[in-house]
């Protein structure tokens, strides 16, 4: 995992109020009560801040797991 990926994971865990260790690839995003419309917006901000890219909103909303989220980011880079 790169430093950038680590920094994103740490920030995402904080925003979703989960422990970083819980963010395994199969982590279900909906298991955090903060994965709602504001949570999606927060994630866009984190992606912009850490990767300097925008990801399609609909693609992000459709993500079910942390692996799908990271795949969406990698595809955008």
């Amino acid at each position: 995992m790169t430093d950038r990926q680590k920094a994103f994971r740490s920030a995402f865990a904080k925003e979703m109020e989960v422990h970083e260790d819980e963010l395994e690839p199969d982590f279900v995003l909906e298991s955090s009560p903060l994965w709602d419309s504001m949570g999606v917006m927060t994630t866009i901000a984190l992606i912009d801040k850490h990767y300097g890219i925008t990801v399609p909103g609909e693609g992000l909303t459709a993500c079910k797991t942390y692996a799908e989220l990271t795949k969406l980011i990698e595809e955008g880079i």
Binding site: P33, D36, S37, M38, V40, M41, T42, I44, A45, D48, K49, T54, V55, P56, G57, E58, L60, T61, A62
Partner: protein, 343 residues
């Protein structure tokens, strides 16, 4: 050398009496917490228009308050600009109804314009043009909105953000040595039209039983095609690209740096978005206005409401340079610099 310049002379807002609090929302949406809503959105309570209360009613109330304050008499207004996306009727023009209810002269020009969150900046642009070209002396700009009427009661995200309200702003001709409104940067990108929209009810898609059918989205909000649809993630994507760019373009146009601006008054979308924009652009917190705790996002009325509050608290001096930035539905955006002389 002194010349005729347009200047903001007075701003008065009006909120309807209805209220929607975070506690009410938390009671309806069981997995939500009132304090969390405040932390994320910056909103504690939203003003909501009554069932029979429209944007025209709110705009007239704001206009009456401004006129009765002595800022200007109805006879002195020679142009009325009315900005709303929730008019009383397809026709006639809401501004014509407002002209009559405010007792403005019948040789007063009046028209509506349909813009949302960028509406106030566009209104200033038009008012400045009318005044500095000699077409008008006193332009009454009313921005009034009732998005609550478009929002489905179970659309959690839209209901949490938007409130209803109106503001009346008097823009008048003054003798001044320098520009008091401007320069401007305006922008439009209709590719974003589908991301903040009421899909049915206009001429493109007439209301039918089908358009009334309710659907639940991936995040649990419910709406029909006759309700407001907001693609929050895409709106956020648009905003974090367009707004920093517009701010920089305006600074370049005015040959200024961020330090040359005393206050930044952005459209009050929600606190999270505003905080993110502020940090991304590099604006010091003490120069950045946040004003939505007690009213919510009132669309085209947020900027004048914020200005009214800042003036009332003494935060703005006549020599202060303010940057106003509106952005949203359309997509449409606008930014300008203003100095506001004493009333």
């Amino acid at each position: 050398m002194s010349e005729t310049k347009a200047a903001i002379r007075s701003i008065v807002s009006f909120l309807p009496e209805g209220r929607l609090t975070n506690e009410q929302l938390a009671q309806e949406y069981r997995d939500w917490d009132a304090e969390k809503i405040l932390q994320k959105t910056g909103i504690r309570v939203r003003a909501i228009a009554g069932p029979a209360e429209t944007s025209v009613d709110l705009g007239v109330k704001a206009g009456e308050k401004l006129l009765s304050s002595g800022a200007c008499s109805p006879e002195d207004v020679d142009f009325l600009l009315f900005c709303t996306q929730s008019p009383d009727y397809f026709l006639p023009t809401s501004a014509c109804i407002v002209q009559d209810r405010l007792g403005l002269r019948t040789d007063c020009g009046a028209f509506d314009f349909n813009l949302g969150c960028s509406g106030f900046v566009y209104g200033l642009y038009a008012a400045k043009g009318f005044i500095e070209s000699g077409l008008a002396q006193n332009v009454l700009l009313i921005t009034a909105e009732t998005y609550s009427k478009f929002i489905h009661p179970r659309d959690k995200s839209a209901r949490t953000i938007f409130g209803d309200g109106a503001a009346a702003t008097l823009v008048s001709a003054v003798d001044a040595g320098a520009e008091l409104i401007g320069p401007f940067v305006l922008g439009t990108d209709g590719r974003g039209a589908r991301n903040l929209i009421v899909p049915a009810g206009g001429m493109r898609t007439r209301p039918t039983d089908q358009t009334k059918a309710e659907q639940t989205d991936a995040l649990g909000s419910v709406r029909s095609e006759e309700n407001l649809y907001m693609n929050g993630p895409e709106i956020f994507n648009f905003t974090i690209q367009a707004v920093p760019r517009a701010v920089q373009q305006l600074l370049d146009r005015a040959h200024l740096s961020l330090d040359g601006v005393d206050h930044f008054v952005f459209h009050q979308a929600n606190k999270y978005m505003l905080d993110y924009l502020r940090k991304k652009i590099g604006i010091p917190q003490e120069k950045f206005c946040i004003n939505l705790e007690l009213c919510g996002n009132t669309v085209s009325a947020t900027i004048p409401m914020a200005l009214e509050g800042m003036r009332a608290s003494g935060a703005v001096r006549p020599d202060n340079r303010l940057m106003l930035v509106g952005f949203g539905v359309g997509y449409s955006w606008g930014a300008c610099l203003v100095k506001i002389p004493e009333e």
